[in-house]
């Protein structure tokens, strides 16, 4: 699904944002991308949708990132939903992507309503984004990319600024989606609950890549890259509890 090798990117100021990223993600995987501020996480995310173009090799969904249809296949959910929801009503915003892909108004309407139902926001179609709570706006932003029927979903800090209940509801929502996901986050418990695999990006390079729990249990690795689990949080206990619930 994602194949990056030696991916490099410098901002116009000359600062290196990506300094040789190697990353392979298979279809169906859920991968957390962890790392300190300024590690290049968001820059990497923008490469996956062809919004930035760096040097090195990158194939997304088997295609070159400059492919015209890549934006339909990779759904980016931005950190601040106010950046993403810009149309006057929720329905018009969710239909924006399908209409850009050439859907007729009737098709776009059907896809928008189905996507809103999938994120449990049915009934908010005619509301304006500023009338919704942050959690609701984030759900609508997710509906906006789901309506484009993507193969890969990329989230930038999906749990940022959410209250505990809204965060849990979002986690349940994402957990129920059978899509390949890349989750850029500082929220390590969120990553542990959602993702099987974690990649640590630091200084524009992948410095760790492995099973999410193993990465999160490596206290020295986390400390070296300004990552920290909440006090008292035990990733293993989380998995054991999930296993008991499943049994």
């Amino acid at each position: 699904m994602i194949a990056a090798r030696g991916l490099r990117y410098r901002y116009p100021s000359g600062a290196a944002a990506l300094d040789g990223v190697d990353l392979h993600v298979a279809r169906g995987e859920r991968v957390a991308v962890l790392g300190p501020n300024g590690a290049g996480k968001t820059t990497l995310m923008l490469h996956l949708n062809g919004l930035l173009h760096g040097d090195g090799e990158l194939r997304v969904c088997g295609e070159d990132p400059r492919a015209a249809d890549l934006r339909a296949r990779v759904g980016l959910v931005f950190q601040d939903p106010d950046d993403q929801l810009f149309m006057p009503t929720v329905r018009e915003d969710v239909a924006f992507g399908p209409l850009n892909l050439g859907a007729t108004p009737e098709q776009a309407l059907a896809r928008a309503d189905a996507a809103l139902a999938a994120v449990r926001m049915g009934g908010a179609e005619e509301r304006a984004p500023h009338q919704l709570s942050l959690g609701q706006r984030r759900r609508v932003a997710i509906a906006g990319v789901l309506a484009m029927a993507p193969e890969l979903l990329v989230f930038d800090e999906p749990s940022a600024s959410l209250d505990p209940r809204t965060r849990r509801e979002l986690l349940e929502l994402l957990d129920g989606m059978a899509l390949t996901m890349l989750v850029v986050t500082h929220d390590l418990p969120f990553a542990a609950q959602l993702c099987d695999r974690a990649v640590v990006l630091s200084g524009g390079r992948v410095v760790a890549d492995g099973a999410c729990l193993e990465v999160l249990e490596d206290a020295r690795l986390l400390a070296a890259h300004d990552l920290e689990l909440p006090a008292g949080f035990d990733p293993r206990a989380l998995v054991e509890r999930a296993g008991q619930l499943a049994a």
Partner: protein, 242 residues
């Protein structure tokens, strides 16, 4: 305008009224027509002003919009009227001042009625279908969407100033307000760049695509005919007499 004041505007009255259910193009054309007829009339065209007022009153009653809502929202024109009363008498007679005030009131009330019976997205949609340049409607749509976001940011910044004891007692202490304005501008500029990235991520390539299609019906035609019948004969008669 504060965020709270922004939230106080919007559709009022009975959303199921015949006026609310009209096609937004019919309301836009009809109410703009009332304004144009009144504004273009000569100073002593009191029958035209009275007819325009009657059309607006009938529309407000049919839409079940409380007089209080009309008065509160229409009050925005009061500073202009005061300015008019203070300045124009230096050169003109009282009739001209009264006519100018009547025109201003008709135009403002028509705009208030449009806003109270039509959502802003529907007004934008109507403008697009009436062939207003897409760039203008896109700018208006983005401005409407982000006005609330920027107003919210401004409110939080003002509270932050107050929380740290900022209470200017002289103009010399007002510099912080200027720095807040600069910070707000820079934040808005950054947000603009992020919004553009998010739009491109969903395949945006220039125009804002629209979902709904509007359909003019018999009620819309009847509304436009009624407005024209109430105003145009008087206006034409005045023009002929002149």
């Amino acid at each position: 305008m504060s965020a709270a004041a922004l939230h106080a505007v919007g559709v009022a009255g009975d959303p199921a009224s015949p006026v609310h259910r009209l096609d937004p193009r019919a309301k836009l054309l009809g109410l703009t027509g009332v304004t144009v007829v009144a504004v273009s009339a000569p100073a002593r065209a009191w029958p035209v002003f009275a007819a325009a007022a009657a059309v607006l009153a009938a529309t407000a009653v049919a839409a079940r919009i409380p007089a209080r809502v009309l008065a509160l929202r229409g009050a925005v024109v009061l500073p202009l009227l005061v300015l008019l009363v203070l300045t124009v008498p230096l050169r003109e007679d009282d009739a001209v001042v009264a006519a100018a005030a009547a025109k201003a009131l008709v135009g403002t009330t028509a705009a208030v009625l449009l806003g109270a019976t039509t959502t802003f997205p529907d007004v934008l949609h109507a403008l697009e279908r009436l062939r207003v340049p897409p760039a203008a409607t896109a700018v208006a749509a983005l401005m409407y969407r982000y006005l609330f976001v920027v107003a919210g940011e401004a409110r939080r910044m003002r509270l932050s100033l107050q929380a740290r004891g900022y209470a200017p007692r002289s103009a010399l202490q007002a510099g912080a307000i200027g720095r807040v304005a600069v910070a707000l501008f820079l934040r808005s500029h950054d947000r603009g760049e992020r919004v553009q990235l998010a739009m491109r991520a969903r395949g945006h390539s220039g125009a804002l695509p629209r979902l709904r299609t509007l359909a003019l019906g018999r009620a819309d035609a009847a509304f436009l005919c009624a407005v024209a019948a109430a105003l145009l004969p008087l206006r034409v008669a005045l023009a002929v007499a002149a």
